[in-house]
C-alpha cells in the first residue's frame, strides 16, 4: 500500500526527517510513536501534501504510484486521508455541504455516480452515530465553534464517510478524554479491514489500548530507530523515550 524509502523532508529550509523508511502493507495498522519534535507530524503532513513542506530526498510510493508528485486533492481522491492534529475552523462553509462535495469529488474521480442530497444524508446519519456526533453539527460551519474533542470526532466522521484506503491519524488522541478516545478507536476499528490500512501517529500509548496496531515504530530525531509488534508500545510506556534514545546512542 505505502512504501517510504529514505525520506528526507522539512519546512522553511530546515530538514526534520533524515531518511525515513517504512512499509505499510494492505490491511495493516501501524503506529508511529515518538517524543515531541521527532518529526511525527512532518511525516503526516508530507504524506498528505501540505504546502510549504519540502521533500529533499527519497520517495514515497502509494499503490505503486509516486505520491509526492500528486496534488493534495488527488491524494485524497486516490484514497489517502489525513485526520489533522489541528482541524481548522471554516465559518461560512457548511459542514455537510463540504463533506458531500468532497465525497462526490472522490466518487467522480473513480467514475462513480455522485450521491444526491438524500442519499448522502442517509450515509452521513449512519456514520454520525458511529462517532456520537449530534446532527446539529452538520449544519454549522466546518468545525466552527466545535470543542477540541468535537473537532477530532468530526475528523473521524469524515474519515468514515470518505472511506479511505489509507488513513493517517496525526495525534488524533491528543487532548481527548477516555470516552472520546474510545469513540475515535471505534471509528478506526470499524474502518479496519483487509482493504484498509491505517497509520496512527501518537505520542502516548493509551490510544493503542483500544486500537491495537499490528506494528509499532519509534521515530526519533527524524529516523525510525526501532520497530516491533504491539508489545513495543507497552515497553515504551513503561520505560519512556529516554530508553530508546540511550539504546540508539549506544548503537552508534
Amino acid at each position: 500500500m505505502l512504501d517510504i524509502t529514505n525520506l528526507h523532508a522539512g519546512i522553511d529550509g530546515k530538514e526534520i526527517l533524515h531518511g525515513v523508511d517504512l512499509h505499510i502493507g494492505t490491511g495493516e495498522v501501524h503506529a508511529i510513536m515518538g517524543p515531541n519534535g521527532s518529526g511525527k507530524s512532518t511525516l503526516a503532513n508530507v504524506l498528505a501534501g501540505r504546502p510549504r513542506y519540502e521533500v529533499t530526498e527519497g520517495q514515497v510510493l502509494y499503490e505503486g504510484k509516486d505520491l509526492l508528485t500528486m496534488l493534495p486533492e488527488d491524494r485524497a481522491r486516490e484514497g489517502v486521508f489525513l485526520a489533522m492534529q489541528y482541524p481548522v475552523e471554516i465559518p461560512g462553509v457548511n459542514n455537510i455541504y463540504f463533506l458531500k462535495a468532497a465525497l462526490n469529488a472522490i466518487r467522480k474521480h473513480h467514475g462513480e455516480e455522485e450521491l444526491d442530497a438524500m442519499e448522502f444524508l442517509q450515509l452521513a446519519r449512519e456514520k454520525m452515530k458511529l462517532v456520537d456526533l449530534d446532527e446539529s453539527f452538520m449544519n454549522r460551519g466546518v468545525n466552527e465553534g466545535f470543542s477540541g474533542g468535537e473537532k477530532k470526532r468530526n475528523e473521524i466522521f469524515q474519515m468514515a464517510v470518505l472511506d479511505p484506503k489509507l488513513a493517517i491519524l496525526d495525534e488524533t488522541d491528543s487532548g481527548l478524554d477516555i470516552d472520546a478516545l474510545q469513540v475515535v478507536a471505534r471509528g478506526v476499528n470499524t474502518l479496519r479491514s483487509e482493504k484498509h490500512s491505517v497509520l496512527v501517529i501518537t505520542h502516548y500509548q493509551r490510544l493503542l489500548k483500544y486500537l491495537v496496531p499490528d506494528f509499532v515504530h519509534v521515530l526519533a530525531d527524524g529516523r525510525i530507530v526501532k520497530s516491533g509488534g504491539k508489545g513495543l508500545a507497552e515497553e515504551l510506556e513503561q520505560k519512556g523515550y529516554e530508553w530508546i534514545e540511550q539504546e540508539v546512542a549506544a548503537a552508534r
Binding site: 498528505a48 496534488l71 493534495p72 485524497a76 489533522m84 481548522v88 471554516i90 462553509v93 462535495a101 474521480h109
Partner: protein, 394 residues
Amino acid sequence: MSELREQAAQRFAQLGWPTPELEEWKFTNVAPITRVNWRADGQARVDDLGASMRASALAELVFVNGHLRDAGGRAAGVEVLPLSKAGSHPAIANHYARYADYQRHPFTALNTANAQDGALIVVADGRAVEGFIHLLFIGHGDGIWSHPRNLIVVGRAAQVAIVETYIGTGNYFTNAVTEIVASESAIVDHYRIEREAVDAFHVGTVQIHQERSSHVTSRHVALGGGLVRNEVNVALAGEGANLTLDGLFVLADSQHIDNHTVIDHVKPHCDSLELYKGILDGKSRGIFDGLIIVRPDAQKTNSRQVNRNLLLSESAIIDSKPTLEIQNDDVKCSHGSTIGQLDEEAMFYLRARGISEAEARRLLIYAFASEIVDRMKIEPVKEQIRSAMARFRP
C-alpha cells in the same frame, strides 16, 4: 418643488464637483464623471435585464434612466407611488429633502436639482407589511445620466422591507438619493443592490433618519460599476434607536468602489452595529471610510464598527479607515479593520478531502461573503446576489 430645484442647482454651481483635496473625497477622483457632457433621456425602452422581482415582490416600480417605465402590485397599508405623481402628498411637504443635505453634498445638490422621478413609499402607522417592495433602476445608453430620488416614510410602529436594485448597460451615470424616515418604533429592512454595468458611474446616497426606538437594518451590496461611490448617512435622532448597517463590496478588474458611511449618535441609548466586507480581485480599488460620531448628549451609546477585506490579487488595493469621534465618556464603542488573503490552512483542509484548488477557492470566497448574505431575509435578493457572484459560486 421647483423652488427647491432652483436652490439646489445654485448650490451645486457654488460647490462644484468634489475634488480629492476634500478629506471626504481623498480616495476617489470623480474627474472622469465631470468630463462627460451628460444628457437626460426619457425615451429609452429596455428590458429588465432579469432583475425584476415582480413574481415575489408585493409591489414593484421600474425606472429607466430615471423615468418611470412600469408599476405593478399593491399592498394594504402602504402607498407606493412615483414621485412625479405624488407632488401634493403631505409626506413630500413634511419630509422631502429634509434629511439628505444638498447644502453640503454636491451630488445630493445635483440630484435635488435634476431628479426626474423615483419612488414615494409611505407606510401607515401601526401597519406591518408582509413581504417586500422592489424599486428597480435601469441605466441605459452612453452619455446618459439619471438622478433617481426616493423618499420612504415608515409610520409609527409600522414595519416594511424595501429593496433597491441598480443595474444597466452602457456608459451611463446614475446619481441616486434615497431618504428613509423611521418613525417611533418602526422596523425597516432596507436592501440596496448595486449591479451597474462595468463602464457605468454610480453615486448613491442613502440618508436615514431614525426616531425613538426605531429598528433599521440597511444592507448595501456593491457588485458592479466602474467608478462607484456609496454614501450612507444615518442619524440616530431618537432615544433607544437601533441600527444594523451591513455592507458587501465585490470588485474585480479595474473597478473602483468607495464606501463612505457616517453614523451619527445624536440621542442616548442607541445601538449601532456596522459590518462591511470587501472582496477585491484584479487591479481593483476598494475603500471603506466609516465615521461614527457620538454627540455629547448620546450617553450609553453602544456602537461597533468592523471592516474586513479579502484580497485575491497582489494588484488590488484597499483603503480602510474606520473612525470614531466620541464626544462623551459614557459609551461602549469599538472599531476595527482587517485585510487578509485566503486562509492557507483552510485551503489545504478542503483540498486534503478531495476538493479541487479552484473549487476550494470559490468555497472560501463565497464563505467570506456569506456572513452578510446569509442574514438577509428576502430569498430573491439572496438569489440575485448569488447569481451576480456566480464566478465565485461553488
